[in-house]
Amino acid sequence: MLTSDNAFSTALALILSMDSALIDIVMLSLKVSLMAVMIASLIALPLGAALALWRFPGRNVVIVALNALMGLPPVVAGLCVYLLLSRAGPLGEWGLLFTPTAMMIAQVILVLPIIAALTRQQVEALHGEYAEQLNSLGLTRLRMIPTLLWDARFGLLTVILAGFGRASAEVGAVMIVGGNIDGVTRVMTTSIVLETSKGNLSMALGLGIILLTLVTMINAIAHMIGETAKRRLG
């Protein structure tokens, strides 16, 4: 029978065993999700800032679309990437299906709207405060982007963490485009699904505890860095 007791002891035993397969899975999870968040940030931060600064026809449509895409079901994102990367699909030549790269692409698609939409909000608020001073200095809107992003950095850290949370927690997309191949594309979340389907619930929950612990640790580190910097810089 499953009790939370033996899930915790399973988790603890897993961690203590330093099982190399488990370490590979954890490392792959982190690599895929961190890389996806990094790539998404490189695109979404300037995109969100630009959306905050420029007024153009259809801007509201773009904002609503981004906000809606924050709720894009991972399975749908996964399916789209699957059809794109499948041999019969437009990018089939690249042979990326069932690779970590495919998983990363799917997660970029999931994370990008979150970071872009929330960056837009943060930068718009900050721009409200800075606009007159920056205009007085004669900055172009393009030149304002790095200034505003840098000054919004503490808020944006939280935004990026939200993106990381989505990436590391989702399973629907990576399952479809990665295929949960042992040793190649198996990550924490797909392992949890697999163990659940085997009825090995304490193992599944144990893996869940490890995933949660890792995500908590990353958030705690980021939070500490942010708080320290905020206290110093006001």
Binding site: E129, Y130, E132, Q133, N135, S136, L137, G138, L139, R143, T147, W150, D151, R153, R232, L233, G234
Partner: protein, 243 residues
Amino acid sequence: MNAHHTPPVATLELDRVDFIHRGHTLLKPTSLRLAGCQRTLIMGPNGAGKSLLMRLAHGLLTPTTGSVRWQGAQPAQAMVFQRPVLLRRSALDNLTYVLAIKKASRPELKAIPRKAQAMSALEKFGLAHLAKRPARVLSGGEQQRLALARAWLLNPQVLFLDEPTSALDPAAIKAVEDAVLEFHRSGTRIVMTTHDLHQARRLANDVLFMHNGELLEHSPANDFFTAPSSREAAAFIRGELVW
């Protein structure tokens, strides 16, 4: 005064400028000529349109109708706000930032590196010991002095100041007023709003008096304080409530 030795300041002309926002006329049609290296104080009660007029002159706002023109080349300008907007970085970095952005320097500092230019500005405004401190944790007076140091580095021909002392204690007010005079001595035209009559008496040699979105007077400071031409200005000077 050094002012005579620096090149003449370009003249600003406002030609029937008005400003209408959502159907409300915030500034009635105004024509105005600001010539020479003066210390012009814009006075009037709250809501008179002082800040609005200044923003139109500085180019932060575009008039609904009418035109704002500089005779000759547009001069270097800077503005200091009631609540200084400082970036989330050290005092020193706030200054090197504008030097990098504007690629401008004061002529006497041109030869030295940006960081040294910024340090000299901090020294000038008594902030050298705070160079490494984050700008946003400085006191109100220190922040306003940093904003002035930032403007100083831009070597403006025209400096706009919007109620720069309204939130400061007397010592800090004194520092800001000294800085304004120092700017002027070095050849910078001053355009400043205030609702503090005593401050205006200390600083102005030229006064604009506004009331209810309308420019009622533009006269030399002596004339304005001794013989104001409008009923509202006279009441304002007597310290009565005007609205």
